[in-house]
């Protein structure tokens, strides 16, 4: 090894070991190394220089080893520049600094090269909108040398947009962007090399949940001390779990209770501390169990999130009823109120006071969706029984739930939580509706009488209308149109295939005829709705025209 160093005249040091291989265990695999003063890790993107070629190639280190004869080698999975695959690009539009990762099988996917061919690190950012990918910030994008989000299959010579679980043999999580702490401490896969790695690993877990990397130190300190039981093997499982659950988490409806009441905040804070303690205890005990991992990890991650105040909080979705989340979300909404409502300066102050107690998260409307889904439905049912629910009509369809709540608060002096009814193909295009749940039955009745007797005018000549929804359609309403054949004689295989797959119907089947019937019915109903809404629109316009003041 010394010889090589002298010849190359460049500094070299091996980093973390990974495992051994080869017939006589003479091959040592590594995870990282330092070459010419630069740290390289497995799955980093690097420039590879080839003799005679003016431009360096870009590749991803997918294997690093030193063989028995002390020669250092790397296996590199290639990135293609658009110029290299222009023949197959056709009418595909390419970004300025876009490259394509090789996938598939065949020549050109990857090569083994001497380590000394590495010419430097390359900053490649993955901009794939895949939910498993950590979305890069604007800064990261600016600093990137190259971006990629598509792959090039070397076997079929085609551009692919989506990525499966493995890209060219490399697991997809190593293809996507590393989270900052991962970059710092390398993905711990097998043999841990002391405490550092453990801490890193745990931090990786926490950060995997996309708590933006501003304070990586914190998760480590919070969890590193407490979590001693983590073994590397389990860590690997967790990481995998993390990616799995991350994917799942995003799809699952995001439960969390919304409280617009300020009194609950102090109690929430106390609860937060408990959560921290309990989560850490839990994580100590339960690191090995899969099921509970799903719960404990987000709680552990919750804490750093609370502390880091990452505004872009798409993540940490899973845990139900986590008080820390409530507090956080609550605050952004109130802050929004301050920004957007003009009238009632005294109200502004009031709101201001409410927000004081809390960690001021950046108001982020986009992400309030992750705490709202199913509980609202449950609350609707409860509210119906309690009589605290109202339906508001004639809102501007572009309003957001938050705006509705603001209006109610300012105009009616009532706390409420509102949800705009999502538009569907058969909703009226002229106005929007919202379901509003008040805090008390009295409040509800007060609001209703005020709205019915008086006229609360919103812009564009829209008086606010309210009604008590007498019946809310149940969740299991009949859905017509899906027929099932009870065929015991026909093969089992056929039956299974019939239900679980999706397909386009072929014109020569009965199924097609029926489908066409449905299409016809659909077209007819579309025209009914169109006519109805046209008529309604005309009526409304005529009435609004009689407004004298406008």
């Amino acid at each position: 090894m010394v010889e090589v160093d002298d010849v190359a005249n460049l500094e070299f040091n091996w980093g973390k070991k990974r495992g051994v291989g080869g017939k006589r265990k003479e091959v040592q695999f590594y995870e990282s190394f330092t070459y010419d003063g630069v740290d390289y890790n497995l799955y980093d993107s690097v420039y590879m220089v080839k003799e005679g070629e003016p431009e360096p190639y870009i590749g991803k280190l997918i294997k690093i080893w030193e063989s028995g004869d002390k020669s250092k080698k790397v296996k590199v999975q290639w990135f293609f520049q658009p110029s290299e695959i222009s023949r197959w690009l056709d009418d595909v539009s390419v970004l300025e600094n876009e490259i394509f990762l090789a996938t598939g099988e065949g020549v050109g996917l990857a090569n083994v090269n001497p380590l000394e061919a590495i010419a430097g690190k390359c900053n490649v950012v993955c901009t794939s909108k895949d939910s498993r990918n950590h979305q890069p910030s604007e800064e990261e994008l600016k600093l990137a040398d190259y971006v990629f989000y598509r792959t090039f299959d070397v076997g079929s010579c085609t551009i692919l947009d989506k990525m499966d679980d493995k890209v060219g043999g490399t697991e997809v999580r190593f293809v996507f962007n590393k989270k900052e702490s991962e970059a710092a401490c390398a993905v711990p896969e097998r043999i841990p090399d002391g405490k550092d790695e453990k801490e890193c690993a745990v931090a990786c877990n926490a950060v995997e949940f996309n708590t933006l990397s501003t304070t990586v130190g914190q998760p480590e300190s919070l969890l590193g001390e407490e979590v001693t039981a983590s073994k590397a093997g389990t860590v690997k499982d967790e990481l995998e779990m993390a990616t799995d659950t991350k994917v799942k988490a995003e799809k699952r409806p995001q439960p969390a209770n919304f409280h617009s009441d300020s009194e609950e905040k102090p109690s929430k804070k106390a609860k937060k501390d408990d959560v921290i303690k309990s989560s850490v205890d839990k994580s100590r005990k339960k690191l090995v169990e899969r099921g509970s991992d799903v719960k404990t990890m987000p709680t552990a991650a919750d804490v750093p999130a609370e502390n880091t105040k990452s505004g872009n909080n798409v993540p940490i979705r899973q845990a139900k009823d986590k008080p820390s989340k409530q507090g956080k979300v609550d605050c952004p909404r109130k802050e929004k109120n301050i920004n957007n409502i003009e009238k009632g300066p005294s109200n502004k102050e009031k709101l201001g006071n409410k927000t004081k107690g809390l960690s001021g998260g950046r108001p982020d409307v986009d992400n309030s969706k992750w705490f709202r889904q199913s509980p609202f439905e449950d609350r609707v049912e409860i509210a119906q029984k309690d009589g605290t629910i109202l339906m508001l009509h004639n809102l501007d369809p572009e309003y957001v739930s938050g705006e509705v709540e603001d209006i109610i608060w300012h105009a009616l002096k009532e706390h409420c939580s509102a949800k705009m009814v999502q538009r569907t193909k058969i909703s009226t295009p002229h106005s929007g509706q919202a379901i509003v749940i008040f805090k008390t039955r009295d409040g509800t009745e007060r609001a209703m009488t005020k709205l019915n007797e008086g006229c609360l005018m919103l812009p564009n000549g829209r008086p606010l209308v309210c009604s008590t929804p007498s019946t809310f359609p149940g969740k299991q309403s009949t859905f017509y149109g899906h027929l099932v054949i009870d065929n015991k004689t026909l093969g089992q295989r056929e039956k299974k295939g019939a239900v679980s797959t999706s397909h386009c119907s072929q014109p020569n089947t009965i199924e097609y005829d029926m489908a066409m019937e449905w299409c016809l019915l659909q077209a007819r109903s579309d025209s009914w709705w169109k006519r109805l809404y046209k008529k309604q629109g005309l009526e409304l316009r005529r009435l609004k025209a009689t407004f004298k003041s406008k």
């Binding site: 909108k129 895949d130 939910s131 604007e138 799809k251 929004k336 409502i341 009238k343 409307v365 986009d366 709202r372 889904q373 609707v380 004639n394 957001v400 739930s401 938050g402 705006e403 105009a411 009814v421 999502q422 538009r423 569907t424 193909k425 009226t428 002229h430 106005s431 929007g432 509706q433 379901i435 008086g454 609360l456 005018m457 919103l458 812009p459 008086p463 209308v465 359609p473 859905f479 149109g481 899906h482 027929l483 054949i485 004689t489 679980s500 797959t501 999706s502 386009c504 119907s505 199924e511 097609y512 029926m514 489908a515 449905w518 299409c519 019915l521 709705w529 109805l532 009435l543 407004f547």
Partner: protein, 194 residues
């Protein structure tokens, strides 16, 4: 370096362009099924089911976010041209371009303030406003009765198709039996000859 409200709104709008509104879904459909079904068109980024409450019974629908607008449009045109069925036949799903109001939580329109005014009873516009209110409520009930009508029509079609299906199935069974019987008879004949 946080994106402003306008930027967020613009970003959201961009997301809306990439999203397909899928309707007429089987109530028991899961996320995974839709994902597999639409993966043939491109990269499914996210799936959100549209919850079912409101005066009108919102049909089972989902908002599927795709990798880019081209894929989304492709889905919409494909489904419009051929009846595409997901996990249940023969009723095909419908796909439309999503609109921003279809999303449960979209960012506020930038620059939006909501001025509101309580109208005085003596205000001449008060009457008009009351009329509007009544009309709005009337419209809502019209819409829901139309919806009920639609459901009835669907039920009729469903029943009709079920009948047709049963008849066809009977035909098939008969043929099946007949063929087997036929074969059986031949075998018996062969056997007795031997």
């Amino acid at each position: 370096m946080e994106p402003s409200a306008e930027a967020k709104y613009a970003a959201f709008k961009e997301k809306v362009k990439r999203t397909v509104y899928l309707e007429n879904l089987n109530p028991q459909l899961t996320d995974a099924v839709i994902r597999t079904a639409l993966n043939q068109f491109g990269n499914v980024v996210n799936i959100q089911f549209v919850p079912n409450f409101g005066l009108e019974n919102i049909r089972y629908a989902a908002l599927v976010e795709m990798g880019d607008a081209k894929q989304a449009n492709q889905i919409i045109t494909e489904i419009a041209n051929n009846p595409f069925m997901i996990s249940g036949k023969p009723r095909p799903v419908r796909a439309f371009a999503a609109e921003i109001e279809m999303f449960p939580f979209h960012p506020r329109k930038p620059g939006g303030k909501v001025p509101w005014v309580w109208l005085d009873k003596k205000d001449p516009d008060f009457e008009v406003a009351q009329k509007i209110k009544d009309t709005v409520l009337k419209h809502a009930s019209e819409a829901s009765s139309l919806f009920q009508q639609q459901l009835l029509e669907e039920e009729k079609t469903h029943k009709r198709q079920a009948e047709t299906l049963k008849a066809n199935y009977k035909k098939k069974l008969l043929r099946h039996k007949y063929v087997i019987l036929d074969k059986g008879a031949v075998k018996l004949a062969e056997h007795s000859v031997k």
